[in-house]
Amino acid sequence: MSVATIDHPALQAVLDALAARFNDRLLETRFEKGELSVRVARGDLRPVLAFLRNEQGFNALNDIIGLDNANAPVAGRPRFSVLYQLYKFPDALRLRVVTDAAEDEPLPSITGLYKSADWAEREIFDMFGLRFEGHPGLTRIYLGDDFKGHPLRKEFPLAGE
């Protein structure tokens, strides 16, 4: 994949390093409103995040965000997306790594890389029903264990069952 040119020298350097290392395994690169997001396959998630953390200095994970794309499906792409919002401290650089998964496809847990991933992954499991392989205790975080369904899926009704 050719490296996109973006109007942000520091993020451009990160992007170049990513492209040099992972080349065509970067599925999509977007730079909008000053925010860079890089899409990778599920299997590449852990190596990409490990590279960003260990070699590019993205030492903090702001948040993990789950998305259900049921209302606007993209052809050839699984239903759910998971977004990893990284932060490089103290340079104030942000970067978003995106990956996709179907309902029955487990994602790699990144609790070994970022401790703050623990509860964030549990929240996505609770709200979307996505599983994370290697998570130390993947249980619901907000709802009771006997709760049926995953509220942030689009088909879940607003007022409950």
Partner: protein, 364 residues
């Protein structure tokens, strides 16, 4: 007799949890081995609800997250919407937002010092803190008619300009708060009991704190200079001269010192903003039916409890496809177990108080 660990359940109605939170504590006599927080008792499904509300309708709902810091929640959300929709906010509105946000930070910190001290047994501090906070709530009432869940900001600006009465109240607060802070410090800073309960309690190493995603005053008490207002300025914070107070020992006592110093910095910012308030409109023209073209944005602000982030994905309609809030208390709560290990059960309430959590935003 065979040796056995004790399991204790604190909460969900324990007074120190300030909301509904259960702590499953495993202890060796009085020494805490591990703590498992059980959250979700206050879960209202906010993020689901937001997918069914228009962009302006969501603003008052954000008040109900960290209900001690309503304006700060508003600010995080409206800034994200404005960035997504490309709305330019008038300079005067940005300054008024800064004033309201910093007043809110002071109000939130005053509630924190009251609760933290009260949990440890210093009840008069709670009363002093709340007398002063009352003045701030009166100010918000004068500004917009509400005291707690104020709905103090709008997409594109603020609902009202500052009236002379409000300016007078702000000036009054700026002079009265430091006096009250001095009273509180006289009661606590060199108090042997307070120091005995807080110094060296709940420590966490800076590198570990970053690993856990700790933000806000609790992280700065570990000596890490991380303040979104300085690192990634928003709403004209770059115009103001203020310091970022840092701690060194990363314990409950340093978190106390950091927040006390932060309130004084907030007052500095408020004075500067009021003195240099630019002329002009206080609200940009925003269509009543705000439709935002497809896109996504992540933005965070420095709330009273730490870094408050909003991710918004739009789909071209007047309702968002997804709004995800990154609540500072949720992330800070994860650190709690790490901070408690090896301390006494009685220290749990001191550490929990020093994290300044609000269950409204943890549970969403």
């Amino acid at each position: 007799m065979p040796y056995k660990h004790i399991e204790i359940s604190m909460g969900p109605q324990h007074p120190s949890t300030h909301g509904v939170l259960q702590l499953k504590v495993t202890a060796d006599n009085e020494v805490v081995l591990n703590v498992e927080p059980v959250i979700g008792y206050l879960h209202r499904g906010m993020e689901k609800l937001w997918e069914h509300r228009t962009y302006p309708q969501i603003v008052p709902l954000t008040d109900r997250l960290d209900y001690l810091g309503a304006v700060l929640n508003n600010l995080g959300y409206v800034l994200a919407v404005e960035k997504l929709a490309g709305i330019e906010v008038p300079k005067r509105a940005q300054y008024i937002r800064v004033i309201l946000a910093e007043l809110q930070r002071v109000a939130s910190h005053l509630a924190w010092i009251g609760f933290n001290a009260n949990d440890i047994g210093a009840m008069s501090v709670l009363l002093y803190g709340f007398i002063e906070r009352e003045g701030l709530l009166d100010l918000f009432e004068e500004y917009c008619g509400a005291r707690l869940t104020v709905h103090g900001l709008r997409i594109g600006g603020v609902p009202h300009d500052l009236t002379p009465k409000v300016c007078e109240l702000i000036r009054g607060v700026v002079t009265s708060v430091p006096r009250r802070l001095a009273d509180i410090e006289a009661l606590l800073s060199e108090n042997r009991i307070w120091k005995h309960r807080t110094v060296g309690i709940g420590r966490i190493a800076p590198a570990e704190a970053i690993q856990y995603g700790l933000t806000g005053p609790a992280l700065r008490a570990a000596g890490v200079r991380w303040d979104i207002r300085k690192n990634i300025p928003y709403s004209s914070y770059e115009d103001f001269d203020f310091d970022v107070p840092l701690g060194t020992h990363s314990d409950v006592y340093d978190r106390y010192l950091v927040r006390m110093a932060e309130m004084r910095q907030s007052l500095r910012i408020i004075t500067q903003a009021l003195d240099r308030l630019p002329a002009g409109e206080v609200r940009a023209k925003v269509p009543r039916l705000l439709k935002i073209p497809p896109g996504e944005v992540f933005l965070s602000v420095e709330a009273a409890k730490g870094e408050l982030g909003f991710y918004i994905k739009s789909n071209g309609t007047d309702k968002p496809e997804r709004v995800k809030m990154k609540a500072p208390s949720f992330i800070n709560m994860q650190c709690f177990e790490k901070m408690c290990q090896g301390h006494l059960i009685a220290d749990l309430v001191a550490i929990l108080g020093s994290l300044d959590i609000v269950l409204g935003e943890i549970d969403k």
